[in-house]
């Protein structure tokens, strides 16, 4: 219990207390607290255990870079692991838990790892767990995975909703600190559309946390005035709680807005997070700078804190870090913290300034020790004191808090997301990104500017210049120029001679010696060091540790940080929830469900549905007493062939084609002739790819001279439409032809079987006798005495006398009901795609099981259809190449078992009768198979070398997966009614 809340001061509302729990213990904070500040107010500095050594850890920062204070928030499906307590806005009812400890954060058995640390140095995975290799997967990895890691994800579904949005602006300002506010105000006054985004719940950045005055004005007053003016400008939108996490092509920025992460009572009608894509003509990156930790022994003890963070907690939330604080700094920041602590009546025990020439302007009470270093911090679960080295002499100082500042590193992640590399600046002692890139300008301390007034001036000046370039000629900076009075000192990368571990990467437990080991073992390249030591690979991605690691590598390799360089910055800047990325695409909204207009008709007739792509198609229609799908399918097939059946074929792709060149166009996209297709006729068409292989098939009917109606297979409906548009727009723009997809506009019903004409004639007003409406007829028809207009096609996939009737989708169910009613006396039954499949295999009709991207028209017996007399069509040029006409190409045959009680499966390979299975002996494979109730046997279609010449040959059908060998015979692919007598009946 060393940190505590002061009785006055801060931006918290003491009249509005908030109750929360940490590790089930009830605690209280105030509106204006973060979880981190509320924990500190309750004296909780020990908040977690470290990743590898399970060392006690406290709150180190007050922002996004926090490596230690990772907690699990929420319960059940709302469990969120590895949440940074420093960014969590406190709310009433918040439930937080510490992580990576067992049984408790105070007594953690995993801390035994600290004793094993001599064996757990850099690269220890590679060294220790090399042998035996088989142990890795089964023994080592599970143990390591259990021991390491941070919070645990929940297995329960997230009950909340998320959404994705776009927003557009002339100027996007990233970061609402001094530079960002100045830029937004400049742009807002000029009339530009401005979006100002900030990750905090309160805009202001360092204006919230510094006690400095700007001119005559206190930082807090300046902030209040600026925010009030911005709020009055209708062209300025302020996005609080919004982290801009990435910079993408087209100057689009990704951002995530927390909408309801600050409440325990979630409104289910609003998202908890919103993923924004912000399209900006220009952006100003005003993301600020990160204070660097100092690397000395025990610099991870609870009670050690960044100097700027300590100031932030003190000034914003009235948190006293302890009773007595030691400052360790090589920068002005330490003095600002000391000033504010003393102003709050707190004791500063000592200021150890690593610079020999420490500034003499210090007017506070605390003693300053120029050229002094803190070598070790001491304590168990909390800081109790430090060892200061002054002139080579160690001196013990008692303290329960330590503020450290190693200087500042500009936060340049976003500026480097599109390929720009950071460059080391000796003048700024920092890595800087290019100040101006196409669409992005860096301002304020992100650009290496130090002093607060200078940041205001820089943001204003750069926004003015950007806006004038965008055509806002009236844009003038909202703040006057100011010199940068901040001084830059040589960084102190680490303190020599520390007795305890000196941590560089707190989150991944990488300490100074690990980096030395990496260099001495040949892993000194920055990218290799990262992977060998895991420095910078934790969820904070090295926000605090990377620059120190680079400096330490540079010293070890005796080069400049410029020669070491940085690892690559990639999105996301901070971790992003999967929920935000998924947005509304979850559950039933993950992908659309397509239901045929006859879906409800099929359901009420008992259909079992099957998913085919997005569609639900009726598979079969079981009757009471039928216990297997085969029973239903066999019955449906036999009934269609004997009486009649009705089947939903609405899922076929349907395309209306118009234009005076429509016939010429079809002649070019189909390999067979279409130019002279008469009005009122349908024709089976084969569409090839440019390489000569079949792409898709279907029927196309000519409804009038310049109007055709094309059907495609269900699977290729969208692809064929795209293909037709490509041909018409990119290849032959001179042709007059237009397309409209009408797949969803028509309910299409197949009526098949010897009694189909009799049944349909009761609905159709026109004469549909064989003479009046022969095979391949296609025409508009009137139904129910003129009540409805539809389209009738005499086409057949089953091989029976058959029709397809298309009616406007909304009438589908009523028409199907009418057909069922009219067909009742004739024994009509509904049938599904399984029965359809059996009947088409019986007839040797192909589908995409055969049209599998490797077959030419000739391979499937369509050689005569191809009209080589046409001057050009898609695929024509390649059809005559040697390989495409080779004699031993796999070609379509039928196959059936010698003994009808035996069977085989689709996908099985064909071997010559006595041949052993081998690649050389492979003759082809079964593409489709089914049980044919008409033949009383399994039948199949197969692609076999020299197939059509081998009818009657005995073969072996072999399936190695099931160890099946079936004696079979090759035959014609038409198993049923080879003379097509039924079709023309």
């Amino acid at each position: 219990m060393s940190s505590f809340r002061l009785s006055k001061g801060g931006r918290i509302d003491r009249a509005r207390p908030l109750d929360f729990t940490f590790d089930r213990k009830p605690m209280q904070g105030f509106v204006g607290d973060t979880l981190a500040s509320a924990l500190l107010a309750n004296g909780r500095q020990l908040v977690g255990r470290s990743f590898k050594y399970h060392r006690p850890r406290g709150i180190l920062t007050a922002g996004a870079a926090e490596p230690n204070a990772l907690v699990t928030i929420g319960e059940g499906g709302r469990t969120e692991a590895n949440t940074r307590a420093t960014l969590v806005e406190l709310y009433s009812g918040l439930k937080a838990k510490s992580q990576n400890r067992w049984p408790s954060v105070h007594f953690d058995l995993g801390a035994v790892n600290s004793l094993l640390s001599p064996f757990l140095g850099a690269g220890f995975y590679y060294k220790t767990f090399m042998w035996p290799a088989a142990f890795w997967e089964k023994v080592y990895e599970p143990i390591i995975r259990k021991a390491a890691g941070l919070g645990r994800a929940t297995y329960e579904p997230d009950p909340d909703s998320y959404e994705k949005c776009w927003a557009h602006c002339e100027l996007l300002v990233i970061g609402a600190g001094p530079a960002g506010l100045a830029a937004a105000l400049t742009a807002g006054r000029a009339g530009a559309r401005v979006i100002l985004a900030d990750e905090g719940f309160e805009p202001g950045g360092s204006l919230l946390t510094e006690t400095a005055a700007i001119g005559e004005k206190a930082a807090a007053d300046l902030l209040g005035e600026t925010l009030a003016e911005l709020a009055s400008l209708p062209n300025v939108r302020i996005f609080s709680r919004t982290t801009v996490f990435g910079w993408y092509d087209g100057n689009v920025f990704g951002a995530v807005e927390s909408v309801q992460k600050n409440t325990a009572t979630i409104d289910p009608n609003r998202p908890v997070e919103r993923l924004w894509r912000l399209a900006a003509r220009h952006a100003i990156l005003a993301s600020g700078a990160e204070e660097r930790p100092l690397v000395f022994g025990g610099n991870d003890l609870p009670g050690v804190m960044m100097a700027g963070a300590m100031r932030s907690y003190l000034n914003r939330q009235a948190i006293a870090p302890g009773k007595s604080t030691v400052i360790f700094t090589n920068d002005e920041s330490g003095y600002r913290t000391a000033t504010d602590l003393e102003a709050a009546g707190l004791e500063v025990a000592a200021i150890a300034d690593s610079r020999a020439g420490a500034p003499s302007s210090w007017a506070g009470r605390a003693p300053v020790f120029p050229g002094a270093l803190i070598q070790d911090a001491k304590g168990g679960k909390a800081l109790t004191g430090v060892t200061m080295i002054k002139g080579g002499t160690p001196e013990a100082i008692e303290a329960d808090a330590l503020a450290m500042s190693g200087g500042w590193s500009p936060i340049i992640h976003l500026a480097c997301h599109r390929g720009a590399r950071p460059v080391w600046s000796d003048a700024k002692a920092a890595f800087l990104a290019p100040e101006t890139q196409d669409g992005l300008t860096i301002a304020g301390s992100a650009a290496g500017v130090g002093a607060l007034e200078a940041c205001l001036a820089d943001g204003a000046e750069k926004a003015g210049s950007v806006l004038r370039n965008l055509g806002f000629s009236n844009a003038s900076p909202a703040f006057a120029p100011a010199p940068d009075t901040a001084t830059v000192t040589k960084p102190l990368w680490y303190v020599r001679g520390a007795k305890a571990k000196a941590f560089v990467d707190h989150q991944n437990d990488v300490h100074l010696k690990d980096l030395g080991l990496a260099v001495s073992e040949g892993y000194g390249h920055v990218e290799l060091t990262k992977r060998y030591t895991t420095n910078g690979m934790a969820t904070d991605q090295g926000k605090l540790s990377n620059i120190n690691a680079i400096g330490i590598l540079a010293e070890a390799r005796k080069v400049s940080p410029a020669d070491v360089g940085t690892t690559t910055f990639r999105p996301f800047y901070t971790p992003l929830s999967f929920g935000a990325l998924a947005g509304s695409s979850k559950g039933k909204h993950f992908q659309p469900v397509r239901k045929s207009p006859l879906h409800d008709w099929a359901r009420k007739n008992g259909a079992v549905f099957v998913e085919t792509g997005l569609w639900y198609r009726s598979s079969w229609f079981p009757k009471p007493g039928e216990t297997t799908w085969r029973e239903s399918v066999d019955r449906e097939v036999l009934n269609v062939r004997k009486n009649a059946g009705i089947c939903d074929v609405s899922t076929l792709g349907k395309i209306e084609i118009f234009g005076k060149d429509a016939a010429e166009f079809l002649n070019r996209v189909y390999c067979n002739a279409f130019l002279k297709l008469p009005v009122g006729k349908a024709r089976y068409g084969l569409m090839l790819r440019e390489d000569g292989m079949i792409y898709d098939d279907g029927t196309t009917s000519r409804l009038s001279d310049n109007h055709f109606f094309m059907t495609t297979t269900t699977a290729y409906a969208a692809g064929v439409m795209n293909h037709l548009e490509f041909c018409a727009q990119a290849l032959w723009p001179e042709l007059d032809v237009q397309f409209a997809s009408s797949t969803d506009q028509w309910a299409q019903i197949a009526v098949a079987g010897p009694k189909s004409r009799t049944i349909l004639q009761t609905l159709v007003d026109e004469d549909i006798s064989d003479a009046a409406f022969p095979f391949l007829g296609a025409r508009q028809v009137s139904l129910f005495g003129g009540k409805l207009t539809g389209r009738l096609f005499r086409i057949s996939f089953s091989g029976e006398l058959a029709y397809e009737l298309a009616v406007p989708a909304g009438y589908g169910e009523a028409v199907a009901d009418a057909i069922m009613q009219a067909g009742g006396p004739h024994g009509i039954c509904p049938y599904g795609v399984e029965a359809l499949g059996v009947m088409r295999i019986e007839k040797g009709h192909v589908t995409h099981s055969e049209i599998n991207g490797t077959v030419t028209p000739a391979d499937l017996g369509f050689a005569k259809m191809v009209s080589m007399a046409k001057p050009d069509f898609i695929g024509r040029a390649m059809l005559s190449r040697d390989g495409m006409v080779a004699q031993d190409r796999l070609s379509l045959v039928g196959v059936k078992p010698l003994d009808p009680v035996t069977t085989f499966r689709t996908g099985s390979h064909i071997l010559s009768e006595a041949a052993a299975p081998s690649l050389e002996n492979d003759q082809g494979y079964v593409t489709s198979s089914c049980y044919s109730p008409n033949l009383g046997s399994t039948i199949g279609l197969a692609l076999v070398k020299h197939g059509p010449k081998r009818h009657g040959e005995q073969v072996t059908v072999w399936n190695d997966l099931k160890n099946e060998y079936t004696k079979a015979v090759l035959c014609s692919p038409v198993f049923f009614d080879p003379e097509n007598e039924k079709l023309h009946g």
């Binding site: 993408y248 087209g250 689009v252 990119a730 040029a877």
Partner: protein
Amino acid sequence: MASLIACPHCGPRPKEEFTVKGDAAIARPAADAGEDAWYAYVYLRDNPRGRHKEYWHHTSGCRRWLVVERDTLTHVVYSVSDASTQGGTA
């Protein structure tokens, strides 16, 4: 995550609305152009680092095929035009 394509018919739209087909620098040969020309058209593709012309389809927009000239390295889009103005057939 995001990028924009300026459709000449619809204005700047997110790339998720588009489908890319590939090289638009090649023209479909005449039917009698011979096997070599056809072989090149069907099978040979450059894979340039830098400027490249590609066919993009505004599938979820105006459904026009476009020719997008862009940089394969930086993703900068230099120009977008309707494919019908390109002369796709040699």
